[in-house]
Amino acid sequence: MTDGAEVIVVGGGVTGLSTAWWLARSGIDVLVLDKGVIGWEASGRNGGGASHYHSPLFHEEQALWPQMDDLLGYSTEYRRERVIFATTEHHLRNYHQMADACRTLGYQVDDLAPDEVREMVPFAGDNVTGGIHLRFGGQANPQRTVQAYAWALQDLGGRILQHTPAMRILTAGGKVTGVETPRGVFACDHLVVAAGPQSGLLAAQVGADLPLAMARAEMIVTEPGPLMAIGGVDGNGLYGRQTLRGNLAYGGGPHEWVEVGQSGPRARPSTPLLRNLARRVAELLPGAAHLRVIRSWAGVVENTPDGRPVLDRLAEPDNLTVATMSGVGFGLSPATGRAVRDLVLEGRCSFANLEKLSIRRFAGMAADWREANGWLPTTHAQARADMRA
C-alpha cells in the first residue's frame, strides 16, 4: 500500500468532487482519483442547467445553488431563474406540462404570452408561441464549478490525484480494501464509484450489475452577444444558456451510442449536427442569428436503462457506494454530493428518499438489454435499413 484515505472517490467529475467535498466538510479524510484531468468529460461539457424538478434531489438542488459560491468559496457563475419558450404549439404544450409539474412541487412558474417572452428575451422573434418563467432554478458555468469543487475540497484538506486511473478494486472478506492504480495501491475504508461511463465496469469487478449505455451529445457556442437579464433561456428543442460573458451555448438533438472501455472515451467528436443546432438557436433567438459560432464540443454520458440515477450503497461489499446520474448530473451535483455523503456515513440519505434509485431495480436485467433497446453504435446504412423495416 502506498497511501490511502478513509474514503476514496473514483471519478473527478462533478458528482465525485461534490461527494468528496461534502465528506471533507464532515471531517473525513478523502482522496479523489481521476483517470485524467478533473471535469474533463461530461462534467465540463454540459449546459449548466440547475432546475431538475423530476429528481428526488430537486428541493435540495434549489436550496443549495444560491449558496454554493459562498459554501465553496469560489465562483460557479450561478445565475438564478430560467425562461423556456416555444416556437410551436407542440413545444408550448410540453412546457406548460413542465410548469404544472413544478407548481405541484410548490415552485412558482409564470406563463408568458409571446409579448412577455419578447420583453424578457430581447433576441426572441415574431415566431414565439409562448413560454414559461421559472422563478427558481438557474444555471452555472460547468467548468468553473468543477474547479470550485476541487479547490474547495483541497481547502478542507481533501486530496485529488489526476492522471491516476482506478484499474482494480481490491476486496478482502467481503469488503473493499483499496484501489489499484498505475501509481500503486491506495487503501480505503469506503469506496465511492462516481466514474461516469466507467462506473459499470468498476462495479462489475465486485459483482454488482450496473447496466450502462454510453452516448455522445453535442453543443455549440457563439461569440459573445449583449447580455440578457436572464441567462437561462432555452426552448425549441434545445437546452443551454447565455454565459455571463455573453456567449450562447446550446445543445440538444440526437445522440450517438458509443462503446467506452475502462480507460474512458477515446474520442469526443462533434459532428455536422452543429448545423441543426445552429438552425434551432437561430430560430429560437432570431435577434442573435448573426452571432458567429466559434466552437462546438461533445461529451460522452452514461445512461441507465430507465434514464434515472443509481445512488446506492451496495449490500455487498457494503463499503462501496455507486453514484451515476444517468447523464443528468451537473445541476443536481450540489445535492448529489450531499446525498452520497449521507449514504457513505449514515447508510441512508437524510433529506430525500432514494429508494427508487437503487441498483437492485436492475437485478436480472437481460444481458442484451442494449441490443433490445437499439442502444448500440449503429451505422448510417444499418439505421436506414431499420427505418425502412
Binding site: N94, P272, V281, R292, I294, A383
Partner: protein
Amino acid sequence: MAPRGFDPKAVAGKFPEPERQVQVLVIGAGPAGVAAALAAAEGGAQVMLVDENPVDAGLLGLDTPLYYGARYTGAVQSRARMLEQVFAASPLLETAFEAGVQIELGVSCWGAWVGGEGLISLPGPVAGLSDGERAWMVGFETLILATGARDVVFSFQGWDQPGVMGAQGLHALVKTYDAFTGRRLVILGSGVLALETALFALANGLEVVALVEVEPQVQGPSPLADQVRATGVEILTGSAPANARGGLDGVESLTVRAADGAEREIGCDTIVQAISLTPVIELLGVLGAETAMQPTLGGHAPVTLDGTTTSLPNVFLAGDVAGAPGGSWLGDDAAVESGRRAALAALGRPFAPSDALKAPAATHQVPSIDYQQAWMRRLLSMNCAQVLICQCEEVTREALLAVRQPAYLGPPSAGMARRDFATLLGDGPANQDQIKRLTRACMGPCQARRCREQVALALACAGNESAARIPLAGYRAPVRPLPLSVLADWEEARAMSSHWDVWLGIPTQWVPYADIGTDRELLHAGVLGGGPDE
C-alpha cells in the same frame, strides 16, 4: 436473444447525404494544393479545389485565418474585385481550371469528418463548406489538406494595434490581395522565415528598416543574412521589441531594447512577426487525425510517416500543413512536389516519401520550438504584465499566470486570490485547455489564432517546462467563425427533425420522482423530455 431494437432518437440514419459528391477534395489553393488538384485531375479523378481567399472582410478584422494586422486597403471589401485579384495572383489556377478541376474560391472549409472512433453514423466522409452566405456539405472519397502554415505571434507592449501582423499575413496582403497599406517595416526574427520575408518585402518595393532578434546570433544561414544586410537592412541581435507606439492608424514606431538594456526607437508603420510558422492543423483536429508536438516543424504537426499520409486512410497532406521545417515554409518547388505526391497517394498510386521534412535545411541551425520559447522567455522578462496575451477576451499575461477569473465575475474570493498557475501545477501537468476554461484566454472569436501558441509558450516558461511538453489545446468545428444563420441547415431533412429531442429521449427519464411506479408514470413518459416534434 431479444430482437434488435431501434432507437428513433439516436443520430444514426439522420444525417443527410451530402449535397455534392466528389472523388478528391483539396482544401487550400496555394502552390501545394493547386499542384495536388492538377495532378489528381490529370490522373483521371474528379477534383474539387476549395480556397477561402478572398476572405470575408469581417474575418480579416479578426485576423482569421492569418494575422493581417488591419494593414489592408478598402479594396478587401469588394468581393468581386478580390475574386479577380486572387485568381490573377495564382496563374496555375487557370491551368487547373482548364484541366477540369472544379475551383471554389471564397469558400472556406469549416469542418471535415471521415468517421472513426465514436462516430460511425455518417453516410460517408464529408466536409462542411461555406461562402459566408450559406453552408453546405460535400462528400468526398479522399481529402487532401493543403491548408498551409500560419504565424506564431507574440505579445509585447503595443502589439494589439493595427500594424502588428504576421509574415503569412503580409504575404497574403501583398501577393494574393495586392491590398497592403504598410510602407516601412520592422521584422521580428532572423531565421529563414524572417530573412526571406525581408527580401520579399524589399522586392515588392517596401522599406525594411531592421530585423530584431532576441537570440545573440542570427538564426538563418549566413549567405541569406548577408544578402539582407547588403541591402542596408540592420539585423539587431540580442534585442527585443519593448514597445510599439502608435496613433489612430496604428503603429508609428517600435522601441527595441538591446541586451544591455539600451533602448532605441525605430520609426515604422508595420511590425511583421516572422519568428516561426506553425502548421494549420485545425481540420486534422476535427477529423480526429493524429497530431503530435514536432519541435523542429513549428509545433504541433500531423503524425505522418512520409510527409503525405496521415493516421486516417483517406486524408492526405500537401505542403506546409505537414510541418513547417524550422518554422519556415517549404518553398514553392517543394510544395508543388508535395502536392503531386499527395495526389498520387489520394489516387492510390505509389509515391516517393518526402525528404524535405526529414532533414530540414541541415546546413544551418534550425529554429525549433525552443527558439519560440526563447522569444517568449525574453518577452516575459520585459516587465509587461499588463500586456494582453489574449486580445479577444482581454486577458493579460499577469491574469493568465495568476489564473485570474475574468473581470465580469468581480473581485476574486479569498480562496481564489490564493490560487495561481503554480498551485495548479501542484495538482498535475500544465494543461492549456484547463487554464483556458478558468481565465478565458484563447476562448474568443479569433478562435485563438492570435494566442494559442503564445499562451502555451508562456505556460511552459512559467512552469519551467519545455513548450514541447504542453498538450495541444484542442481544435473544434467550425474552424472558421460562421454566423448561426449561415451555418444553419435550413433544408433540414425530416429524418432529423421528426424525432428531435432536447435530451436522449428516454421516456422514463423525466417522470417526477413521486410518480415513478404509479399510474401517473405513463402520463409523463415521452412528453416531458420534449417528445417528437410532430
